[in-house]
Symmetry: D3
Subunit: 176 residues, 6 copies
């Protein structure tokens, strides 16, 4: 099976924040931004897998930095890890007041997608080969997040997740 | 300061899945559902705090059970824990084909909201008093999730999160 | 055939009034509210009949109390009378500024729906058994409204509508 | 004060029925059509009164003739009676499959609007002078509908509505 | 084959400029107006040809006169020339502040549509017979525009477009 | 005043074609695509000028290649010529079925935008320095298009447009 790089699936999406996208404080709704992230991420997954992709799960998203009415929002997504039939996609969100011209990173998040064939059955997806140090870091973290999600949902035991077990031992050791 | 119960903030929202809400497989977009969840959760937070609430963060959401075109989606949200100026809201999503008449639980998730006054400054919110066993369980888990999020973002050390530290020690002991 | 109660079909819907929902005075468009009422009512009818329901007619709606930008609108619908293949649904509309926390009744109306099977033919629907006094009052009025509508459309003669005839005689007697 | 004719306020609106406008049977939602009617009627009222107009009430609407996905909908509205600060607008709805080229009348309804000045106070509107027989017929019926609405809402007594009282006496006489 | 007049296909469309239709300056987006023009023009073409029509091309549109939030926009379209399977449609855009009551012409443009039968093959359309002087002027200009478009796209030579060639010779003669 | 290159303003936008974006043939509406092009072009102009930009005019757009429901549409825009307070933006539209993975160029067009300061007055914009041969070709054509538009609108005489006059003389010479 084919091996691809994260850069092969990079997808860029641009939106302007319109009145109906904002809450009463004049900032972009968190829910509207999540909807945009979901579409941008699904396209990266589709480009990686050459199949229709449906959202399987979303990891933590933090909305610490508000985005304002009339600003331009740029979303950039790419597949950072592939697991058999699913892919983890990393999505960055930048906001920009074009009159000032400086983009600021407002959010980033991981969405997981599953590839489906034309009979709506899940299908295997190409593997990912991270090359740069950045790509390798995202690749490692992706596994820990997946193991933690399964452990908290009581779908695996910690003994089935050696990388997470080692991380927890490190945390406990450092906590004195 | 006032103390409230989770049941004081319960908010119910109903939507029908329309063509533009569905992907090419005919299922509700994950992103569209997240947008609905965000609005439903913000209303529960607003009812708890009597202030405008903006989304601060979203915990894991899983989309294991697809929702189909034409189905009715019912969202139910309530505040399960309050921390100074923020609230954790638990949101359940049920789908229903009215011709069959059985609701099925499709998703649940935790969204965190921050209350703001009319000058858009964060304000203190009422405390939560869980009464039923269910409410107490959600209350405990809420703290663990918060500590884990801060630890992974390297904003706290494990020694600052005694409840999470104890949970990790349990996991490690059970893993042999 | 099955007999149901009005409470079996209760449906709750919540919306926030967004900028595009408001006229130049900053109030919710009457037409947008009617659209929301129609969906909320159709769901109650579908829950009563376990079939897809299409709107047959709408009785008088009055918009005396404006609803403002940013307010939360709660719609509650339930079937109050069933006639062979059609149902009359009573819909109440409440508005609420969450910062104040008091719901006010803004509108109520009756919508009539017809149930259709999967071949798009009309089908019989379960009968309604009103229990409380409130439910019984709505049940009586529903018949008068239906007879009046048919009379004004010249589809029946007054002699075919004994309940309405009696009401008219009462009105005339009281008018001196 | 100025006197206008119904034809001075005629407003024509055209829409295509899109997928999101249709129910699962493939027909235009009643609620969506009401939203279009409300906008078309408000424009006629605004043209009559030269002021912003808000919806005050809606009389019976019947949806006996379905309108299908992809069809063209033409709405035509005009003011048929003016009462101090309010206007009754008559709205006709025609559907047309452009490939066939025949318009069919699908609905008609009466919406009542109130004119507001720039301080959002109600203002007097010009009187209406019906000229054609058609216009005169609509003018007479408009008064009966208004009296019936007030009577059923228990805001007037039948003795305050001589035209309606006479109509009821006619109905009762004819019913034997 | 049937011959029709421009007036047979006249289509009127009315919209109110809503918050989401406006840019940060409070004026109607050019792109939103183009979308409305496209629908209004497609309906005129469909009425002329009694077939579904798809947009083939758009000629110059100028947006010199801004249209403001809350104004009423009236679009009027009619087929001015027919070429085998395509039609040129002339679209006028008027804006109106109903409180003032004066319509002003804001834009006009030519859109070209192609008629398709139910197998999505292009089909011949009826010819156009311009009668009034206005209609004849639009008819002549339509041909020049078409020839110029083909020439600049290098799809024809000037020798294949005698009407345009004559116009260019006139321009050059007048330029001294 | 600053001089910029076309590449400084490149803006990429991605959309999925949804049911409500398609005509009855299942293809993307021309009007919807124009709306997307307008937003994408306005962002490139805003990035070039560091000001809000409003659409001034649109040149010919041809819709020869249909785009289908569910396909991904990528728009790429950049400023190719600047004239005092206005900019000509070149916009390319690519469609892609992600399951196949090949982008095809479907449309290209020129939109002209005007920059406005915070008082909604037009402002001077930076000049453009084309560097590559491609950029230079677009730069030359932009002037001819502008002169032709002004000539046909009878706002200039051919003698005021020496570049266009020379082009017409060439066309006439070549036409024999």
């Amino acid at each position: 099976m084919e091996i691809k790089r994260p850069s092969d699936s990079i997808t860029t999406m641009t939106n302007i924040v319109m009145p109906n996208d904002t809450n009463i404080v004049g900032n972009l709704f968190g829910g509207t931004l999540m909807q945009w992230m979901d579409i941008c991420g699904a396209l990266a997954a589709a480009r990686h897998s050459r199949n229709v992709c449906v959202t399987a799960s979303v990891n933590n998203i933090s909305f610490a930095k508000p985005i304002h009415l009339g600003e331009t929002v740029t979303l950039i997504s790419r597949v950072v890890r592939a697991f058999n039939t699913s892919m983890e996609v990393y999505i960055e969100v930048y906001a920009e007041d074009v009159r000032v011209g400086q983009k600021r990173l407002c959010n980033d998040a991981y969405f997981t997608y599953v590839a489906m064939d034309s009979d709506y059955k899940t299908v295997k997806v190409p593997a990912i080969q991270p090359l740069s140090d950045d790509e390798k870091g995202l690749f490692e973290l992706s596994l820990l997040r997946r193991q933690l999600k399964l452990l908290m949902a009581e779908k695996i035991q910690l003994r089935d997740a050696p990388e997470l077990k080692k991380q927890m031992e490190d945390w406990l050791k450092n906590s004195g």
